[in-house]
Amino acid sequence: MVPSALHPTWARLIRGEIDHKFSVTGAGLLFFSLKQQFMKEPKGLPQQIDTARQFFEKYESILTDDMKKLF
């Protein structure tokens, strides 16, 4: 199950504070994009976390290894 938006790992991933190598192409590109957005607009963090969670919910079946390592 995808962790709630309150889990601190989401924000740390988006702020670039966790050096994780995703196994899924789209996840790496997504978090790169979210980090760029965060640097331009830090107040947008809740929306950025929501986008990340939507991606994880959609592709949960292929992100299980990443989720085990991250959460």
């Binding site: 192409t25 789209g26 790496g28 590109l29 978090f31 790169f32 994009s33 760029q36 959609k58």
Partner: protein, 323 residues
Amino acid sequence: MLSDIEAVKRMLDSGKKLVLAGEESLLRRVPKGQWIGGTIPYFMSETGGITTRDRMYVDEIPASATDVRIGIYDTSSIHGIATATPDNGYSILIIPAFSPLHEKYALEALSFDNMFLRVVAGWISGIHLDDLGKASPLVFDGLTGQAMSDQGVAMHIGLPSGLQAQLGVVNIFEPGAGDEIEFGASGFSTTQCIINGTHRGFVDYINEKKLDTRLPLVANYMGTHVNVSIQSLDGGIAKFYAPVFEGVKYHWAKPVGSYPEHFSNAIPAGVTKPVFSCNCILNYLYGELENRKTGRLTGPMTFGEIGYQLLNQTLVYVSVANV
């Protein structure tokens, strides 16, 4: 698969929906129908790399598709490409090389609404290298037969529940252990760079280090390696096939031995019959892939690959999986 014009006509007559890649003269002969296309004469076929002006590469839309629509995009509407993609499905987008839309997509795609929540793949159409300066890369809307050099065309494909489109990228290049390279501004060209924190001329740096410009710059996007290929070095200006981005750390790629062997080994074992794949013309040229196979994935060898964003020297595929 590679097919001649008569086979393509038969497929359309039987109700199949197609994504086509081929020479302009061939695409102009395809009857109106449920197809989109883009110009390119270079392909990876089941028997190896081939340059042909006589056949087209055909991707059939899965018979299980629940909804198939064609959309035309320009620089003012391209931001909606992901939103127009079915939530459960995928889009194949073809954009003409060297167009303003090509540049806009390259620079801004990552910020388009819903980009990572939908599957957007595709390629940049091109021309035979012998025709540079004589012909223009084109895309075709099969519904009208219209050819366009300044707009993109997409096929949006919906899938039934129980099936999911998944986008994959195969990049045989890895960042080398050399200098960390950054750029002060995003764009398709530069004169300056920042090497390990020190500003200097980029072309001078390349010449001084005798770097192989057939190898791309590689950035690591949290595990996903993204290439930027060198187009030319001229008069102190370096031009790229995709933009470099300000604030991103690049490394020159490690040399690659056998391109066919690297591709064969890098394609995930579970990917056997994707619904779409394409590879880069630079891999075709630099890897000397004519008549050589790169594993089991086939498709056009293009002037740029689309896997969410514009990619270079990369193989992109879309597979449909049971979920």
